[in-house]
Amino acid sequence: MENLVYIALFAPFVSSLFAALFGMTERKIWIGVVASMLLATSLVASITLAYTVYTTGNAIHVTMMDWINAGDLNIPFGFVVDQVSVTMMTVVTLVSTVVHIYAIGYMDHDKSFNRFFSYLSAFVFSMMILVMSDNFAGLFIGWEGVGVCSWLLIGFWYHKPDVSKEENPSVSPSWAANEAFIMNRIADLGMLVGIFVIYWNTGSLQYDEVFAQLPYLSESVLTIAAITLFIGAMGKSAQFPLHTWLTDAMEGPTPVSALIHAATMVTAGVFLVIRANPLFAAVPDVSFFIASLGTFVAFYAASMALVERDLKRIIAYSTLSQLGYMFAAAGLGAYWIALFHLAAHAFFKALLFLGAGNVMHAMHDELDIFKMGDLRKKMKGTWIYMTLASVALAGLPPLAGFWSKDAIIETAFNEHTYFLWIMLVITAGMTAFYSFRQIFLTFHGEDRHTALGFHPHEMYTFVLVAMSPLAVLATITGWFMKEYEAFITKLLPQYEMSEHTHHLASYLGLIVIFFALSGIAIAYLKYARTGDKAWKRDEKIESSFLYKLLKNQYFVPKFYEEFITKPYMMASEVFWTKVDLKIVDATVDNIAKFFYTSGDKTRSMQTGNLSNYLNWMAVGGVMLLVIAAISAMIG
């Protein structure tokens, strides 16, 4: 079994190194193929492990070697394959494999093809470390590793110049990459502090040892640890207020968006909360805060998606929103539901992104859905996939999204947090609306793209075939919810709906479905029709305050720009030119200058005139005599 663990872990690493070897040479398709095969190997290993864990019910624990030993601190490279991590492993490797294969098609014209695969596999490797590690430090390795890979991949098209865009502070891929990295770093600091708190209070960073110690820790320690760890999670999972990077990250290539910014990396935060569930369960206040924040983000992101024109950014907002759902579930204690939604979301969201990638590919990187319309005739396969994924996202049965999302909403109801429940229900409606707004504007309605000179064409067939597993999973995942529950609750706490909720479950489900359907209906009425009733841009709405507010993302990026970035730059400049050069350095120089000028002044006693010298001598002598006389008289 250990070998399988290492295979699952290191196959992507090998893939990355292999691609990196050819990183500076010209594009070779077979590198993509090899990388995909290695990823598939990892997938197979993960599935085998999953099966083993499923059948035996025991976690597999391996320790590779020591990493850091200092003082009493002892951090090994240890990996644990249990129900939670194996779920993540399977999801990650599965989506990655699909994305790798997809990328062979998507990136086929890019001259940095090889480099891309190197980065992508490296990302998978980091993600595997993140999910498999048996201690917080290992988690942090993966945590930072995915951050770097994300940085590399967002900024993959580094050569693009900075172009300022209205409403949107992101100026170029490299800018977005940096933003993502730095935002994540802010959160990582929180996470580091969490690790420190844990270490100094438990003496270890191993999950099992830490969790075993939890009962002995004081409330305040637990609270601080939970809050700081959650800050880490907020960054990676782009929760408010650290969310702006995620939409900007859409500057990266679409497979990256699918893999990193939808399916895997952004869910790391959720994973952390699930992983550290004993800790979070011990501090209900923090958990409730997490749930509230999650709900808020779900709504907040969905609201911004309502008016977005950029295909990928809409999906990004929806990702944000769904992450909010996951946090809501995790915060309410329904960890396994959160994990289940995480997996389901990974499948349909990756599918959605890959579909968007197809559209982009077809539209020559044009992303404005206002410039599309009626693409379904030319891109049938993509249309089907995206519609399927959107239905799943909107939460309509029998697709995956319905089961998981419904369970979350039900949980909110069950916990008597009705406000959260209402918000989540409304958000579900909004989700359906914006998903289908996007589908309709892209694939239905009037043909707007031909006039603009686009001649879209369908993606390669093998790409479409490669996407099929995701489509299948997006459809069927929900059907296995009960079995999964049985599997996962061996590790995670069981979440039981109360009798009351159970009773109302079907009604609750119906309410959600109703909201979703009405969202779709509105979207259809507004965007899907052709002819006279075809959708037109409405100046009035677009100039309304609410629209502008949403369009500008509640002015949060603007706020950051004006109140953090610019002041920081100004402060840096002031510190350098005013404080460091004018005060600190000048002080030192002035001390030196003082000596020099006083040297010049003292030098003037050296007039060269003997008479002055004699005067000096006499002055010195007589003064000494006078001092002698005075001091003799005094003392």
């Binding site: 005067n615 006499a618 002055v619 002598g621 007589v622 005599l625 006078v626 002698a628 006389a629």
Partner: protein, 216 residues
């Protein structure tokens, strides 16, 4: 009584003459008054019983030194009035006054004391022998017996001076001879003709060789 008169007279005269020496604009007056004052100083010496010193004062100072000065004065052609720019007279006199004040204060202190006399005797008696234990020199013996006294019954000042100069102070005396030799050599070579041309400045004697830096 006449001692008091003589003292005040000499004092007033010497001070006056020295004042002329330092204040006069005419170098001749300055020198003459200096010589006169020195003569008067020898008067002090005679009054104090230092006959030999008085004679030396007259011979060396008034005779030799003043003669040297007058030759020098002739050489420098300095008989006319000297123009001096005295920029900070106030400072000068302040310093002079202060130093006079402090020195007077110092000397007005009870320097002589009974204490001292006994101490002095004690020293003369005792400590010569202490340093070189067991090797008491003859002179020490002598001093032990007689003390180095200025006036001893039946011995003139010149005699005592002679004794002390050629016993105890023989080394300084000989060193003074060397010093005079040095002064003589110095005077001769400095005033000599050879100093008129300077080898130090004259490059023509051995041309400065310029090593021209290699052009690379």
């Amino acid at each position: 009584m006449y001692e008091i008169v003589a003292f005040y007279l000499f004092s007033a005269l010497t001070i006056g003459l020295f004042l002329v020496t330092v204040m006069s604009k005419n170098i001749l007056y300055a020198m003459t008054s200096l010589a006169a004052a020195m003569v008067l100083i020898s008067g002090f010496f005679f009054m104090l019983g230092a006959d030999f010193l008085g004679v030396v004062q007259l011979i060396v100072y008034v005779g030799a030194i003043m003669a040297l000065y007058s030759f020098a004065m002739m050489f420098f052609d300095a008989t006319r009035d000297i123009k001096e720019k005295n920029t900070s007279n106030a400072l000068v006199f302040l310093l002079g006054g202060l130093s006079a004040l402090v020195l007077v204060l110092m000397f007005a202190a009870p320097i002589m004391s009974d204490n001292l006399n006994t101490a002095n005797m004690l020293i003369n008696g005792m400590s010569y022998s202490e340093f070189i234990d067991g090797n008491i020199s003859k002179y020490a013996q002598y001093a032990l017996d007689n003390g180095i006294q200025a006036s001893v019954e039946g011995i003139g000042n010149a005699q005592s001076v002679g004794v002390i100069l050629f016993t105890k102070y023989l080394v300084p005396f000989e060193v003074a001879a060397v010093m005079l030799l040095v002064a003589m050599i110095a005077g001769i070579i400095l005033a000599g003709k050879k100093m008129d041309n300077s080898l130090t400045k004259d490059a023509s004697i051995d041309d400065e060789i310029l090593v021209v830096k290699d052009e690379k």
